[in-house]
Symmetry: C2
Subunit: 241 residues, 2 copies
């Protein structure tokens, strides 16, 4: 088998077993609904709902959606305060649904970005978030998306992390959260929180491995020519005081 064949066969190579290291940070991962294939039954599509708002950080959103979007069956829906939403970097996306509607989903994705600085004081958004979380099987924040969850008191007693460049601001919003200063991502059952921007891609692949098996995550890693940091404990931007 040459190098290329090895890469293309990556799924099979890694399918033999899940890495214990990968799941070390996931004490409650068995609580999560599994989407592993079962016989000949068609798999229900994974319903992903992603919040967008003006000045969201573009990679916080599109990094995880890239990975999730390569699942065999997935439906991605954007929801926002208005129909056209502008990222911090400039380009605009179309929100498929609008607040204050809530939508049942498997995964609620909450990106961060400069827009969160205003939104932590937006009672309409925080009220919606509390209602939306109730109908979401799992909630996944990237970067300062955790600030919104924390301010809505949704992370009280939950182990979580956030952007390390904005760590003081985010963690100052709520001291009932068990903030982790060194973690690429933290999985605490219903809440998966990642570190800043690019860490969302690594956490998305973790979610895929957790839900569909590691072979699926490795296949998508290869398809996207990504180099997955698959160890949640390996955080090059850890806050060390």
């Amino acid at each position: 088998m040459n190098r290329r064949e090895f890469i293309l066969a990556g799924g099979a190579v890694f399918a033999a077993g899940l890495s214990p290291k990968l799941f070390a940070a996931s004490p409650t991962s068995n609580q999560i609904q599994q989407h592993l294939p079962s016989g000949d039954q068609p798999q229900a599509p994974l319903k992903v709902l992603a919040l967008v708002f003006d000045d969201y950080e573009t990679l916080d959103l599109h990094g995880p959606l890239e990975m999730l979007g390569h699942l065999p069956s997935v439906e991605i829906t954007l929801i926002g305060p208005q129909s056209i939403v502008r990222s911090y970097q400039g380009p605009r996306v179309v929100a498929d649904r609008q607040l204050d509607e809530v939508v049942e989903c498997d995964l609620l994705l909450v990106p961060g970005g400069m827009g969160t600085r205003k939104l932590v004081d937006d009672t309409r958004l925080l009220d919606w978030l509390r209602r939306q979380v109730k109908v979401s099987n799992k909630v996944f924040s990237v970067c300062t998306g955790a600030a919104l969850l924390a301010k809505a008191d949704l992370l009280d007693g939950v182990s979580a992390t956030t952007n390390k460049m904005a760590y003081t601001w985010v963690t100052g919003l709520n001291d009932k959260v068990i903030w982790q200063p060194s973690a690429r991502w933290v999985d605490d059952g219903r809440f998966l929180t990642s570190s800043g921007v690019s860490a969302g891609i690594d956490a998305a692949l973790f979610y895929i491995a957790q839900t569909y098996g590691e072979a699926q995550a490795r296949k998508i890693e290869t398809l996207t020519e990504y180099q997955w940091n698959s160890d949640a404990d390996k955080d090059p931007y850890a806050v060390i005081s």
Copy 2:
């Protein structure tokens, strides 16, 4: 200086000099217009024009835009065949400008994705691309975006690379291109071509280093908590026959 201070001071640490390795793949980099700060003069914004089309690959576009979008002065414009464009992963973006308009720019970004399979036979798109390249200071393709440039005969005699999972298809479109089977990206003066999907992020940081200095690229790497593969020769998905 603790770890966090070291990271936040990254720009200064790396500003001392450009890594020779980083520029090893850039024989003609001196031809490129430099945007390095000069005294007290305000810098002109970098004008980035990004092509979008139905079934573009979301990270091919938003990965590089994330990095470019953190430059001190930048204007990002999306251009497409129609005003609302759907990515392969589902979410839709708004095109600020529409074909067949051409727009003078510093950097033309051409993403790839499944949509390129049709577009390589779209004479309207290929004609526009030839005209647009003439008014673009530099052209940057990600993944199978190189297929469009190759089919429009814009890469004849140029050293270039593309997605390694689609390597046979893309390279079969034009044998006058000097295709590189092992390269995270290739810089050949006016044309910067990257490998698949995620490689576009690494190549975007290379472009930033080339144009604004390595300190700027390292600063953005830190801001986005990214782990830059800054060596063009390090290609984990190289095609080795």
